[in-house]
Amino acid sequence: MFGYILRRLLIAMGTVWMISMIAFAIIQLPPGDYVTSYIAQLMATGTLVTQEEAENLRIQYGLHQPLYAQYARWVWLMMQGNFGVSMEWQRPVLEVIGDRLLLTALLAFAAVIFTWILAIPIGIYSAVRQYSIGDYIFTFIGFIGLAVPSFLLALVVMYLTFAYFGASIGGLFSTEYLDAPWSLARVWDLCKHLWVPALILGTAGTAQLVRILRANLLDELRKPYVVTARAKGLSELRTILKYPVRVALNPFISTIGYTLPFLVSGSIIVSIVLSLPTVGPLLLKALIAQDMFLAGTIVLLLGLMTVIGTLISDILLVWIDPRIRLEE
């Protein structure tokens, strides 16, 4: 068990390291460096900057050092909580991101919950009533759900609500709570808005999980222990829910690791379409404005969030699945 957790931790660290390299590459890729754009900004406001001053700025920011030293410096600064300054907003990156990261995490979490709430009953129904009309309908919807990328779904849902109800489903808060401090009322308001994007985001994952659960449950239902339970006179509902479903549910936890990166990815683009106050629209804006410190930090934090989520699901799996717990 400890070996398993240790292995997971090592992989998580490797992932974080790779993501940090990529984020650093994203910051470095555009031509010119921080000082070039800073000077351009000063020039635009009418301040003259001499060659010497520019050199001094470069030394001050460590830009004259080789790349690996710059990378080390960047990581070191981040460990102290200094993520750099957003060029476009003229404010520290963390301040700009604010609680958007939390909302992104909430959205992804809500999508996972929705996926489960929908997938478990549908999967059980489809397996128990295999080849019934309901099974076919759900299979068909599932295929569509898998094929339609979430941003297209968001677009269509947005159009339909606008065309038929005259309401816009964009945003995560009502206007009166938009800039209000966190309170119970604001959280409730968030919950009222969160379910639509969470549902849109969760569709593809739901379709996938229904297929997995259906296949697993079908395998389990044919096993002799189910026949035994039935022969002993257990009610049908109990027979199904108590044993085979519990076994078939295992992949739900283990697939979080795979679905989470997928959900975070999807949440970015869905947020842009629905203009939700998550990091999605911010990332797009930063990339278009070439505000690379902000963009790189967002990519890094998103990756970090995904890694932590995956790690939690791995540990949950240890807790739920005795086969892993007892493994040497």
Partner: protein, 384 residues
């Protein structure tokens, strides 16, 4: 006594007739068995036809298009799709009504009114803008067009127009060409990486395998869209369409290869201990010969299936990136570039036909999925 002990291969060749199913199964080649199994999968057959149709359209985009996709006209801005009337009285004579546009002076929107008295005939194989068919011979014939004396660019808008007055139908066809081909190029790259790394992993096993598997695991746990967005946004602004096109395919296939590598590795591991591989090794075949002459042909079908299943992800990725404005840029047209115009709800509410490019995306993705499922089932014709 051949009557009692028929030996395989020594037996006299017999004419195989359709009723003798057992005999046919007995002598069929592996690919024939796969084809028979695939044919039983009706949905996959239909999906295969749809995919073929998409590629035909992609190849002959300029033949099927009615107007030059980059021809803009401010007087035709955001015109709704035209209805095509098939009959005139009782006779089959397809036509559209002439449309005139005027600016509403109160809302400043262009309003279009149809004039039922002016009928414009729609014909097959009509003359239109000139192009070189398949890049071989110049022509101006198109699958659909308007009758002699009219110009399609002025009169025929089957799916309406965009903000700049460009014909959506023609643009959609040219977009099909780019979107479908970007999937192929991306998959080819992924295939190369996947076979190379998956093959190394499966053939050598041990430490190499562990290293590559951990690397794949790490790659798969990174959220892709923000990563792609970051890399795509870093592409220089002054690159040509072709450069951007290849850069985007490379970015997309950077992650896409992992699934293919997994399939290849699995096959390698399964085959490594098979009798025919062991005997090939004992006979003294070189490693290259074992891999390419003995192993690859026996899992080629699996690779084809996995490749087909990897294509829709490529198409969706390109569409997403272009939709965000970070992928291909105009004047290149892909499904994502077209959908970019449908980004905000106001535009979509006023001119819903701008969402039409979503339909081919969904159909293509579904078709590739069904086809891939069918191929995967057929890839192992000996099971069950």
């Amino acid at each position: 006594m051949a009557k009692y002990a028929p030996v395989r291969g020594v037996e006299e060749p017999r004419a195989v007739d359709a009723t003798d199913v057992g005999e046919r199964l007995y002598v069929a080649s592996q690919w024939q068995l796969m084809w028979w199994r695939f044919r039983k999968h009706r949905l996959a057959m239909a999906a295969g036809a749809v995919v073929a149709l998409f590629y035909l359209v992609a190849i002959g985009a300029d033949f099927v298009a009615t107007t030059d996709p980059s021809l803009s006209d401010a007087r035709r801005s955001l015109m709704p799709p035209q209805r095509i009337y098939l009959f005139e009285g009782w006779r089959f004579r397809p036509h559209v009504y002439a449309v005139t546009g005027k600016r509403d002076l109160r809302t400043f929107k262009r309003v279009y009114t149809t004039d039922p008295s002016k009928k414009i005939p729609v014909q097959f194989f009509a003359r239109g803008f000139s192009y070189t068919f398949l890049g071989l011979f110049p022509t101006d014939r198109h699958l659909l067009g308007v009758g002699e004396g009219y110009e399609a660019a002025q009169t025929l808008f089957m799916l309406g127009t965009d903000v700049q007055g460009r014909d959506l139908w023609s643009r959609l066809l040219f977009a099909t060409r780019i979107s479908m081909s970007i999937g192929l190029v991306g998959v080819a790259l992924s295939l190369f990486l996947g076979i190379l790394l998956g093959g190394l992993s499966g053939y050598y096993g041990g430490f190499v395998d562990g290293l590559i598997q951990r690397f794949i695991e790490i790659l798969r746990s990174i959220p892709t869209i923000p990563l792609w967005m970051g890399l795509a946004a870093a592409l220089p602004r002054d690159w040509s369409i072709l450069q951007i096109y290849f850069a985007i395919t490379i970015i997309i296939s950077l992650v896409g290869w992992t699934e293919l590598a997994r399939v290849v590795r699995g096959r390698f591991l399964a085959l490594r201990e098979e009798d025919f591989i062991v005997s090939a090794r004992l006979v003294g075949c070189s490693q290259m010969r074992i891999i390419f002459v003995h192993m690859v042909p026996s899992f080629l079908s699996h690779i084809i299936a996995a490749t087909t299943l990897a294509l829709p992800a490529m198409i969706i990725s390109e569409t997403s990136l272009s939709f965000l404005g970070l992928g291909l840029r105009p004047p290149a047209v892909s499904w994502g570039v077209l959908l970019q115009q449908a980004q905000n709800v106001q535009t979509v509410a006023l001119s819903p036909w701008l969402m039409l490019p979503a339909i081919p995306v969904i159909i293509a993705v579904l078709a590739f999925n069904f086809l891939g499922d069918g191929l995967r089932d057929a890839a192992d014709p000996y099971g069950q």
